[in-house]
Symmetry: C2
Subunit: 257 residues, 2 copies
DNA sequence: ACTGTATTTATCCAACAGGTTAATTTGTCT
DNA sequence: AGACAAATTAACCTGTTGGATAAATACAGT
């Protein structure tokens, strides 16, 4: 019955402060209006929930609880479950596109530009692991929702053009030997990081080693950069992947998936 | 009420043939026992269902219907939903491991061995698209089920060793310039194909072009082989990816995801 | 034919999940 | 202060879903 801060302490401001000890219980603790904040909390909670359980596995009640809100609020502020899902997806794309646009490769020499590009996206996905899951979820539904989103369709990644430019410069300068379809290269770079992170759970079980600790992640980044640069420059930058990989051999487990 | 062939025509043999028109309706059409067949149909149906909708989205009733069975049969023959899921997963791993073992690279010179390896796995995933979805599903649940499966954990892929051997030979023969950690290379090769196929739905929307038609798939295979071989040999095998990629430029859309 | 067990079917159910209704509270404008 | 819209809450409704029960049927051994 008591509205006040019913679910969470979503103290948006100077909310509760015992106020007047006499006034009816109803008025001791108050909730405040905060539509924008509420909407944001809902979207954040929904992102976590959808990322953690997928579209079908996500629970509307859990989202509400996590947002310190009421189920009715979701419908009031966003719409039904699928609307909510699409909104989350669109926000995720917007976020990554915005960060992508902040990257400037023009000053760097081609190999460094590639290094920077790979390092940047690697970092982004490490910082935003939910995005991986959201994309997988959307692919499971065969992009059904994305197709309906004119918003996302209009948000082109600047990376394809960046890659085209860098490769072009690299070929001209002699740094790179081969011309590559920038879309293919874009996909390949995305693949190298995406698969590793997205499938780290199963891969870790199969290989019997943790692929997400600091060292493993560093090694992976090193390997990806070396692989791509070796392909582009035609000069394998020393032994790539783990140093002494072949001489020393690889740990115990060596399954695969 | 009429048991006979109630859901499907799962004519396991010479099932219905109008038999004796006089005998009671109950006996006109008969179902036959076929435990092994039933189990297989259930697993196949379950594989499709789990691949299409994920673990949470899968519906036990749909699996039963698709298997031409009854819901009770699932519990009788396999167990509850999660048991069923794990069984499907284990069967999927068994299948790919079996095919993997059939691949013999020892006779081929190192570059051809790599080509063959990539082509083989590419083909496997094209022929078995459900496996992609199953793996994604399992990663969504952070390999919770795999961890419980001693079966899968003991099924090591022969590919890591094959790659180690091939790279080793390649370095010795001078075909390859760099030594690579075979596990990293294994993951990278897996990544190049997995991401492309698994994310083709969203990528197709973003790029505004179909990534799964014949030509696109051929180009992708070509690109993957070229990328890996260029990195290993240090000799970019001509322009890789799409011929004239840079000169001609790339189609209309060029977004990204 | 007779019987016990394996296999299969039809039916039911309690929990759950998404969505809706209606009441209550808050802030703002007058 | 009063009124009206925006925001929030609690309670309810209904179809679904995984799972369980119990009855029916088939088959093998005798």
């Amino acid at each position: 019955m008591v509205h006040p801060t019913s679910q969470h302490n979503r103290a948006t401001g100077l909310a509760k402060q015992k106020t007047n000890e006499k006034s009816k219980a109803k008025r001791v603790l108050r909730w405040q209006r905060d539509p924008e904040g509420m909407r944001l909390r809902i979207l954040e909670a929904a992102k976590q929930e959808f990322a953690a359980h997928g579209l079908a596995g996500a629970r509307v009640d859990r989202i509400a609880a996590k947002a310190g809100a009421n189920k009715r609020m979701l419908y009031y502020h966003v719409g039904n479950k699928e609307d909510l899902y699409l909104t989350v997806l669109e926000a995720a794309y917007e976020k990554i596109r915005a960060e992508e646009r902040s990257l400037d490769l023009e000053q760097l020499d081609p190999p460094d530009a590639i290094r920077t590009l790979i390092g940047f996206t690697w970092g982004y996905f490490l910082r935003n692991p939910e995005f991986l899951a959201l994309l997988n979820s959307e692919n499971l539904s065969r992009a059904k929702h994305l197709k309906r989103s004119t918003k996302v369709k209009s948000m082109h990644s600047p990376f394809v053009e960046m890659i085209r430019a860098v490769v072009s410069r690299g070929v001209a300068s002699g740094d790179f030997q081969a011309a590559v379809d920038p879309v293919q290269l874009y996909i390949s770079i995305a693949a190298l990081r995406f698969f590793y992170l997205s499938n780290s759970a199963t891969l870790s079980v199969i290989f019997g080693r943790d692929l997400l600790n600091r060292q493993a992640k560093d090694e992976r980044l090193e390997h990806m950069v070396a692989l791509v640069l070796a392909a582009l420059t035609g000069r394998s930058p020393a032994v790539f992947g783990r140093e002494q990989a072949l001489r020393v051999g690889v740990p115990a487990h060596t399954g695969a998936a």
